[in-house]
Symmetry: C2
Subunit: 335 residues, 2 copies
């Protein structure tokens, strides 16, 4: 065997990689992440079908073992980085996670450490996405920005003076649970009127159900209901010019625009990045959102704050951000 | 003359001092501030009687010269620190200051530098109060806190990871201009529904006028209107058990409690300190405020965030905080 081929084989075999995991209410995404943020292999498991945390973690651990085994010839895993909703990072616990059929406190870090011999890092999903954006995406070189994830729920993260803001108890950046309508829609967190009940993918769907129930306005969504109505269907209908669907996005834009104006009065960020499924709706969401934002933002900040979609692939920011925690730790130890 | 007396005289004569100024919509406060934050002498001028910025700055500069002249035998002024509302710190300009009869842009830093030979430092009034609290008050040793000033308007400041947050354009901490009621009360900033239209001293007064106009409920405030009704009168009436006045504080507490819950979902601070006239109302304000806060805050943060009044004298935090900017600069240069 020629020497060069042999060397290539050796290099490939020993390439270090981090397993990044983004635990979401609908699906949980796994990726093998290089230090430069590139995700070289991906897997997904269906969170929504899991009845409780036991079923979920059995499925997840099985998938991880299979995933790493499949690529053991190519990559050497040096650690696991996890982004998870509602997690108390210091305690390593998922706490009262809205949108999950889990117990009140799930000791996620201990469960992983019992199962795997790798170092495991844990952060809130919003922080993971924000770290991904800061390190590999649109946030590179920006000292003050806010990132908001618009998925099944709404999360986010804050970078101020160049550092991620975690808060006193690790709960900073819970933008989805800012109350925008007192006594409004019931939220998975047990309260009512939270931003995510209006402006997440689920919120979009709830607004659609309300409009369909309350009005007789013609819409292609009416036929959709019987087959199953998802946020994506509302987007596709809006794109085809369906007026009811466009008005639903208009309403989401109003809520988000006001929320971003209020966030801006507090943080004065240079930019706000929107990530997650809903942010992929493009102008259908961003046009009403920006119009509302500029109409209600502090006059001194008009025209000064960039609002745009995340620069990273929808499904990748949290995975690479979570993995970056392990890469950061590795560099701290070895450099 | 004995030697010791002579020495004391020399020390007193050369004691370095900083002039701290807190520019407010109702009054502007001046203080001679020692490095340990103690204000050794104070003056106040009436801002409200000034028709425009020319009248105001003539009066202010005259007062400063008189003030420094009066104590020239005791203190040697090494600089001026200013806390001012709606100021663009980087440009040294007061910009669209709500509650002031000023032009759109007032070049306050240049005006001071033309008039005085001292170094002049400028920051937003909310930041000045926050710096005072962080350096000399309840914020000592706390890495994550929010301070909210409840005066004629509402301002504030944020300390995260141990540093004051200024934001990308210097506008962070504008809690008074978070919109809490879309299409609500007109605000001095040109928009409507801002928190300060409900929960400042002026907001308290506006709620009183509304209740007096809309209801026939018996109240000692009714007689007060003809003589002049101030926030303090509502406080005194509430303290005497006047039900209408108590319900007005209840309403302010509802607005503030919700605002603080939303702020907490974003920042997760260890503590929130309330400063300014309204914060002196004690339990009459804090009881309904805390009840509302705990009812609507993110469940994971219940019972975890301290809400209390500033530890500094109402009229002193912004003066000593503004002065601390000069002391900090001096230490940077001389150490």
């Amino acid at each position: 065997m020629p020497l060069c081929l042999d060397l290539t084989f050796e290099i490939c075999k020993s390439m270090e990689i981090v397993l990044g995991i983004d635990i979401g209410g609908t699906s949980t995404k796994l990726g093998l992440v290089r230090e430069d943020g590139l995700i070289v292999e991906k897997r997904t498991i269906n969170t929504a079908i899991c009845k409780n945390e036991n079923v979920f973690f059995s499925l997840l651990f099985h998938e991880i073992e299979q995933f790493l085994a499949d690529f053991v010839a190519h990559y050497s895993c040096i650690g696991i980085g996890i982004g998870a909703p509602s997690c108390d990072e210091a305690a390593g616990v998922l706490e009262q996670a809205a949108n999950f059929p889990f117990s009140e406190r799930v000791p996620i870090l201990a469960l992983f450490q019992d199962q795997f011999d790798f170092p495991v890092c844990l952060t809130k999903d919003g922080n993971a996405t924000t770290l991904g954006e800061a390190r590999y995406g649109a946030g590179r070189g920006i000292d003050n920005f806010v990132l908001i994830t618009l998925g099944t729920g709404i999360g986010g993260g804050i970078v101020l003076n160049g550092s991620l803001v975690k808060g006193a108890n690790g709960w900073a950046g819970e933008f989805g649970h800012v109350i925008v309508e007192q006594g409004g829609r019931a939220c998975g967190c047990g309260r009512s009127g939270c931003l995510e009940t209006y402006a997440s993918a689920t919120g979009l769907q709830r607004t659609a159900l309300l409009r369909l129930a309350e009005t007789t306005k013609e819409s292609s969504l009416r036929e959709q209901v019987a087959e199953g109505l998802q946020a994506k269907d509302i987007y596709l209908a809006a794109k085809r010019g369906d007026e009811l669907s466009l008005s639903i996005f208009e309403e989401v834009g109003q809520h988000l625009g006001l929320a971003l104006a209020n966030i801006s009065a507090m943080f004065d960020p240079e930019a706000v990045f929107l990530a997650g499924g809903l942010a992929a709706a493009g102008d259908i969401l961003f046009d009403p959102l920006r119009a509302q934002f500029e109409a209600v933002v502090l006059p001194q900040l008009q025209g000064r704050i960039t609002i745009k979609a995340s620069a990273l692939d929808l499904n990748e920011a949290a995975i690479s951000g979570a993995a970056s925690l392990v890469w950061n730790n590795k560099n701290l130890i070895t450099t």
